[in-house]
Symmetry: C2
Subunit: 211 residues, 2 copies
């Protein structure tokens, strides 16, 4: 009933889905237990029965997304004998695909990050495996320390990708594009790939003799 309720088509799942939708529509502060319950078609007391508190609900929504993201990135990592550039392209594609398939996710993370330090530990716990994964994936080309370390590249890459999804809806109307459309995403995907190539070229130039 608490912690991790069953999510097989029963009430807890409907509540979780409703919370997910509402978080994207009205933001974190706009969603109330009553609104979640109403959308899920259940009594609002059930929200606190299945998830212990409102915060527990939000944490569970987050958890679901981060698990999916990490799985998607790891699945795209592929074999180590593949050329790094091709691997990175696949990973970046997977990142973009996941964000496109779950457009609410970057918004949600953005909102929670800005909500104050109480949630930082929670977010850190989900970010840590992603960072470790990036450090492993970039171990061959990035120095362990300094301005070109994998952690900086990780922040840069994730910034380049997620900023499109968070700022895109704001900016795209300014140049008359549909930010949610597939054409705009394809263009952004090409841009990100180009950025990856340019940064890889820069890394190769920086340290011509790899390990």
């Amino acid at each position: 009933m608490d912690g991790r309720p069953d999510l097989r088509n029963d009430t807890a799942r409907k509540i979780l889905d409703a919370a997910d939708e509402l978080l994207a529509e009205v933001g974190l502060d706009g969603v109330s237990a009553r609104s979640v319950a109403t959308r899920a078609g259940v009594n609002n007391a059930l929200v606190f029965y299945h998830f212990k508190s409102m915060r527990g609900l939000v944490e569970r929504v987050l958890e679901r997304y981060y698990e999916g993201q990490l799985a998607a990135l790891e699945a795209a990592t592929g074999a180590a004998d593949e050329p790094l550039r091709a691997r990175l392209h696949r990973v970046v594609d997977a990142y973009l695909d996941f964000m496109e398939a779950h457009r609410r996710f970057p918004r949600l993370v953005q909102g929670l990050t800005a909500m104050g330090p109480e949630l930082h530990d929670l977010l850190r716990g989900h970010l840590a495996p992603l960072l470790r994964w990036a450090e492993r994936a970039l171990a061959d080309v990035a120095p362990p320390e300094g301005p070109l370390a994998a952690r900086h590249l990780f922040i840069t890459f994730s910034g380049v990708i997620t900023t499109w999804f968070t700022q895109g809806p704001l900016l795209a109307p300014l140049w008359g594009d549909d930010p949610e459309g597939p054409a705009a995403l394809a263009e952004r995907r090409a841009h990100v790939r180009w950025v990856v190539d340019a940064l890889l070229a820069g890394l190769a130039r920086e340290e011509p003799a790899g390990t």
Copy 2:
């Protein structure tokens, strides 16, 4: 009394400053008119007297930041005869300096962006001049359309910079650094400069014969 109250050291300014601080501490939803008034040392009715509504207050806080940011970037743009690389480095430095001097700003924007579409028009209004400025500054090296257009580069650059300030506090403890310290910022600054150089090199390679 409304719209744009005088900000010369009287009550309206104290309210605005208090709101600014609180927005960063407890997030957008955590700040109430009473909390703002208490911190400012005034009666809470004054919040609605000087600013018409709670939203008006937040808008005014935002406005102050965006005006400062645009001024800082334009001041750093410099003369057109200077080499583009040097100009970009100066602009990027100014961007980083502004963010460092106003660490609450990226957080605030992040929170407001995630808060739902009601605030999007407001944010768009502030973002538009920044975008136009970027398109002007990059007119020589970026094509007007496609994946390398100035707008994509703008999102990329601002993502690389702001993500450090929003995600940094989350990630830095994972590698035992003080994200707010000057050493961490200097390292990030070097990283961003390196990114700028790498992307400029990529652009030069893409279109060897400029206008």
